[in-house]
């Protein structure tokens, strides 16, 4: 399966990602969704902000890429998409970029239901700048700026974006490749605002500060936390604890059917 996305990778590019980074997995999963849809990648535009996740499309993807200012990827993408609606436009950026500094653009694009597919790569931390707390960091987690554990509640990004009016909203982890690829395909095919939160753990900045010494341990930790939506149904808040619920939370196409 890995071979079929090779043609979509920019030739000669050395990946800047750390060994074991989950974003490396996501590079291929996004491209696999595009390959399965048989989209001509020259018709696509990939827009990203600042941070590790922003480097997923730029420079890895052999397509038009726009690597923008911190937090502003969705606003840049809005201008390009509105002027040329033929561009199949995808935003790939991190939780800090899209939900903290760029939070305003995120909710307004969802409100407008702009035809973009936004992949929010959630590593729950500012990875590139040294592992500071983000608005998606769970409570109690140690980061370089929460040395006694995070005391702030994180956003439930899917609820936030669904409430703002997005057409399609889903959350999966890189450890759930099959439903994630299907979800990215649905996001691209949805006309309107699609938001896919991808749990993509950072073992360097998140894992090592929280007694997860290797990439494998970090991935396993999150695999154990992720629960499919139907599995979570009927569980009490105590039973749910700090589980991460994955699945589709808003699907405009289903509602239309």
């Amino acid at each position: 399966m890995a071979g079929d996305v090779e043609e979509y990778l920019r030739p000669g590019v050395k990946t800047p990602f750390c060994p074991g980074c989950a974003d490396r997995i996501l590079v291929r999963l996004i491209l696999r969704a595009i390959a399965e849809l048989k989209i001509d990648i020259d018709k696509m535009l990939f827009v990203s902000g600042i941070g590790c996740a922003a480097w997923i499309p730029s420079p890895h993807f052999n397509a038009d890429t726009l690597h923008t200012l911190h937090g502003r990827a969705i606003a840049f993408a809005t201008g390009a998409k509105l002027f040329n609606p033929e561009l199949i436009t995808m935003v790939v950026s991190g939780d800090g970029d899209l939900a903290a500094i760029g939070g305003n653009h995120l909710i307004h694009a969802a409100r407008r239901n702009t035809d973009l597919t936004v992949i929010c790569v959630n590593n729950m931390v500012y990875g590139m700048t040294g592992g500071q707390v983000s608005p998606a960091t769970p409570m109690g987690i140690f980061t370089s700026t929460t040395v006694e554990g995070n005391r702030e509640r994180p956003f439930d990004l899917c609820k936030l974006v669904a409430a703002a009016g997005a057409e399609y909203v889903a959350r999966y982890s890189v450890g759930q490749p099959s439903p994630l690829v299907s979800s990215i395909k649905k996001g691209i095919e949805t006309s309107g605002f699609s938001f896919i939160e991808v749990i993509s753990p950072c073992h360097i900045q998140f894992g090592r500060r929280n007694r997860l010494d290797t990439a494998a341990e970090t991935l396993k930790f999150f695999a154990g936390k992720c629960l499919m939506k139907d599995e979570a149904e009927g569980l009490s808040p105590e039973e749910l604890g700090d589980k991460i619920i994955t699945g589709e939370f808003s699907n405009g196409r289903d509602q239309a059917d």
């Binding site: 730029s58 038009d64 809005t78 201008g79 390009a80 040329n84 307004h108």
Partner: protein, 379 residues
């Protein structure tokens, strides 16, 4: 070259427009078909005019959630192939600074109209100011090129907005129309010619989009043309590939960005000379203040006084050669400004001539009689 003559969007003739309306029409005439904006006094009429007129000429208008988003969307649209603009005033212009630096670094042609009001901060939103001169050049981090133009009339709001788009497309650079509230809200006659000359960005399939040519300006493809573009605000090589620790790449890029404007400045810089040839005292003025100055200079000339005026139409890049020349001829240079001496300081960089600044920051225009009184004391 990519110059061509097109028919004006407005039927030729005389119009009685405000400066803000004229800027909107100038943009449409130049081929602007994307506008992202956010309301702010005293520039909002530009956005409102565009919102109506784009429905007639087929442009894309969106009111964004803030000025940061407005400018970001404008840059995105420009790379999608649009001639794109936004308009704002002081507080919004401050929010746009990071985006202006990004546009300069990525060599994105965009036009920003800044209808200056009395600052600092919220200041006096409906009153006139001219305090954004240095911000237009130095507002974002690092050294980067911009072109800034200062119009003094409704006619120039129209003509110079067209010029702003031509310069942006010609040099792949952000161009700022640094107008003042007094010009934006001025209402007077404006002439529209049938044909106007416009420049459309050069395209060359497969060419390095950040490589520069003989004049330092590379061709610019658009998204969707199969060029597999890498556009980034990080330091990059000729093909846009990020090179964030290579001293040679950084040195070459920053030098080229600077030189493509500075080396072409004789072609970019425009000014007007009024009686300066044999004058002992020369006024250097721009924008609305140049109107008041010209009135004063013409009165004093009728009295036989040797006084003249240079009207700066281009603010950035600064007219250094002109300033040197004027400084070598004049006994004194009088510089009236609606700020605390931003251009006066710039003039001092290029001449040892006696510079007399006059600074008024009370939210009012500088009256012709004020300038006349000041000049009488110098003559």
């Amino acid at each position: 070259m990519a110059w061509k003559e097109v028919r004006s969007a407005l039927p030729p003739g005389n119009y009685y427009y405000s400066g803000n309306e004229a800027a909107a029409e100038g943009a449409i005439a130049a081929g602007c078909r994307y506008y992202g904006g956010y309301p702010i006094t005293p520039s909002s009429e530009i956005m409102e005019w565009i919102a109506v007129r784009f429905r007639e000429v087929g442009g894309v208008f969106i009111q964004m959630e803030d000025e940061i988003a407005s400018l970001s969307s404008v840059i995105g649209a420009s790379w999608a192939g649009a001639k794109a603009m936004t308009a704002t005033s002081g507080p919004g212009f401050s929010l746009m600074q990071e985006g202006i630096g990004y546009a300069a670094m990525t060599e994105t042609p965009i036009v920003i109209v800044d209808i200056q009001r009395a600052g600092p901060a919220t200041g006096q939103a409906t009153r006139v100011g001219g305090g954004d001169i240095m911000q237009a050049k130095w507002g974002s981090q690092g050294d980067y090129p911009v072109i800034a133009i200062s119009p003094w009339s409704v006619q120039e709001m129209y003509d110079q907005t067209i010029n702003a788009f031509n310069l942006a497309e010609r040099y792949r650079v952000p161009v700022i129309l640094l107008a003042e509230q007094a010009v934006g809200h001025l209402r007077e006659r404006m002439d529209v010619r049938e044909k106007i000359a416009i420049f459309n960005r050069r395209k060359e399939k497969g060419a390095a989009p950040f490589g520069g040519g003989d004049d330092g300006v590379p061709p610019m493809p658009a998204f969707g043309e199969g060029e597999k573009l890498l556009v980034t605000g990080s330091s990059h090589d000729d093909y846009g590939l990020r090179k964030v620790a290579d001293p040679l790449v950084q040195a070459r890029l920053t030098a080229r960005l600077h030189n493509k404007i500075v080396n072409n400045r004789e072609e970019i810089i425009e000014y007007e000379d009024y009686y300066a040839e044999d004058a002992d005292v020369i006024v250097i003025a721009y924008g609305f203040t140049a109107r008041s100055s010209l009135f004063a200079v013409e009165r004093l000339r009728r009295e036989g006084k040797k006084v003249g005026m240079i009207k700066l139409k281009t603010i950035w890049p600064f007219a250094d050669t002109l300033t040197r020349d004027v400084g070598s001829r004049a006994k004194k240079i009088f510089v009236p400004e609606m700020n605390r001496g931003q251009i006066a300081g710039e003039i001092m960089k290029y001449t040892c001539c006696d510079i007399i600044p006059y600074n008024q920051t009370d939210g009012e225009i500088i009256h012709p009689t004020t300038i006349m009184g000041e000049l009488r004391r110098l003559l």
